[in-house]
């Protein structure tokens, strides 16, 4: 049995609850979460915490030296630093469209790194 206090971050209410994981059967008991989303979040968080990565990459644009990017879906929390190191070595050339894939399937997470803004020149 593993007991973990997990604060839900799915919405600004930030419900404070507890997840009790039965390691043998893998079943989780949830206490203190008010909605479906919160319960879903807490259960995932107890097993494999996921985060959306946001960062910037260097561009060759003179007007806009950095391009904001994000992961197209949440990725394992322990992969965040490695992903940022990959992005640090990247340099993109304009034009870049908003939503354009810059790194497909980063570290086999199934998430693409996509641009969150447009650079024309």
């Amino acid at each position: 049995m593993r007991k973990q206090d997990i604060i839900c971050i799915q919405c600004p209410l930030g419900c404070r609850g507890t997840v009790i994981v039965d390691e043998t059967g893998g079943k989780a008991t949830l206490e203190g979460y008010e909605c479906k989303e919160g319960k879903k979040y807490a259960e995932i968080e107890a097993h494999e915490p996921l985060r959306v990565l946001t960062a910037t990459v260097i561009t060759e644009s003179k007007r806009r030296p950095l391009l904001p990017v994000k992961s197209s879906k949440a990725i394992p929390k322990d992969k965040l630093s490695e992903c940022v190191r990959v992005l640090a070595g990247l340099k993109v050339k304009p034009p870049v469209a908003a939503g354009q894939v810059l790194v497909p399937d980063i570290f086999n997470t199934g998430a693409n790194i996509v641009s969150t803004a447009e650079i024309v020149e």
Binding site: I7, I9, L13, L66, V84, T116, A117
Partner: protein
């Protein structure tokens, strides 16, 4: 640009201004202009590259630039006129704005004006930290602009004073960019920003948050070499003997935001000392007829979604005013912050119209009830000063208010533990 009479002029092209412009056009105003001093519209969203925007308004998890882009595209589709790189210098009660840009100084006359200038960060001067005056002290928002837009990391070893949202977001951002964030130092006994930021920005990266601590001295000649921090007592005075030295080359300040109302004050607009923003009615009109205000210029929000809702409200009210069709408000009731309530916006409401109240508590609390006069009670599990509370009060409830009552007091009571 020659002087001309337009329907609605909006000062500020951030989320509040863009939302107000969109709604003003949708409500029938034909000539809507935004005056924006930056090169691009969108305001602060441009440098907020993190996600968490739009969960309520768009029902999607967007980054700042993505949220801004949706508003900008809609404003452009609706032919909102954007005067970029243009600075509003002065505004008068008869709704004339003096502005300047590379073409020179000119006057804009509008049937209605919406103030959407946003807010500014409090600086070291505002909180008077003793010590030397070396390089390496930044407000968190300035550091955010350096890191996310201009491409500079301001330092390698960082201490952040204040646990506001921008401070916590920068703690994560700087950590991911390779800097070491030694601590976030917070004078209050609880974290200042949103819970999700405490979890994702501090707890995730094992960044210590020292509650009930403050910076008592900045050290270093040319560059910051360290700060002295100390525990504080209930009056926020440092407790002698608790001082410790943290070596760092950079101190970031995330110590609060102040609505930017220089233009408003010069025009004779009355401010609420509790919010720092104009006194407004349910349609976000100030004490000067035809001048409206929305977003962080009115009160500092924690979610852009609410800024947009407020912008829309001001936009539709301003369009109605400009058309000359605004009906006079009949029975006016003032709102008043009561027990454990820091402020309530709007400051007055019309008894025959639906109202949306935005408010903040003074102290955190669990299992509380927000009571709006004796007409409405909203139970809440958890309240915190940093998390704004939104309460919709329908006109049918407002009609229950005693005919003679001129005030509506809002209170936050702790519920008895039985329920």
């Amino acid at each position: 640009m020659a002087s001309r009479l337009m329907d609605v002029a909006i000062i500020g092209g951030g989320p509040a201004g863009l939302a107000a412009a969109i709604k003003a056009r949708e409500s029938g105003a034909s000539d809507v202009t935004i005056i924006e001093r930056a090169e691009t519209p969108g305001g602060l969203l441009d440098q907020c590259v993190h996600n968490g925007f739009g969960l309520f308004y768009f029902k999607e998890d967007l980054t700042g630039p993505e949220f801004a882009q949706r508003l900008i595209e809609k404003a452009k589709d609706l032919d909102v006129n954007l005067e970029l790189e243009t600075m509003a210098l002065n505004m008068t009660q008869d709704r004339k704005i003096t502005a300047c840009n590379s073409k020179g100084v000119f006057t804009i006359e509008a049937k209605a004006i919406i103030l959407a200038m946003g807010c500014r960060e409090r600086t070291r001067e505002a909180i008077m930290i003793p010590g030397t005056r070396p390089a390496g002290i930044f407000t968190a928002g300035t550091a955010q602009r350096y890191v996310n837009v201009e491409g500079f990391v301001p330092g390698k070893e960082i201490v952040i004073l204040g646990s506001g949202d921008v401070g916590m977001i920068m703690a994560r951002r700087l950590t991911l960019e390779g800097a070491e964030v030694k601590a976030v130092v917070e004078v209050l006994p609880y974290v200042g920003g949103l819970i999700r930021n405490e979890v994702q920005c501090l707890i995730d990266f094992n960044i210590p948050c020292l509650l009930e601590h403050t910076v008592t001295e900045v050290r270093g000649r040319q560059r910051v070499e360290g700060v002295t921090i100390a525990k504080v007592d209930r009056n926020f005075d440092p407790i002698p003997g608790t001082e410790q030295m943290l070596e760092c080359d950079t101190l970031l300040l995330s110590v609060g935001l102040i609505p930017e109302n220089e233009l408003s004050v010069a025009a004779g607009i009355e401010l609420d000392p509790l919010t720092g923003g104009p006194l407004v009615d349910e349609g976000r009109q100030t004490n000067i007829p035809g001048i409206f205000a929305a977003g962080n210029v009115t009160h500092v929000h924690d979610l852009v979604d609410n800024v947009v809702y407020e912008g829309e409200l001001a936009g539709s009210s301003a369009a109605e005013y400009a058309s000359g069709a605004a009906s006079p408000r009949k029975r006016i009731i003032r709102t008043r912050p009561g027990k454990n309530i820091r402020y309530v916006v709007p400051h007055s409401i019309a008894a025959d119209k639906d109202a949306v109240l935005y408010l903040r508590v003074k102290e955190p609390g669990e299992r509380v009830s927000i009571k709006v006069g004796d007409v409405l009670t909203k139970p809440l599990r958890f309240v915190k000063p940093s998390e704004m509370i939104k309460i919709e009060v329908p006109a049918r409830d407002l009609r229950k208010i005693d005919e003679r009552a001129k005030e509506l007091e809002v209170n936050c009571d702790v519920r008895r533990s039985t329920g």
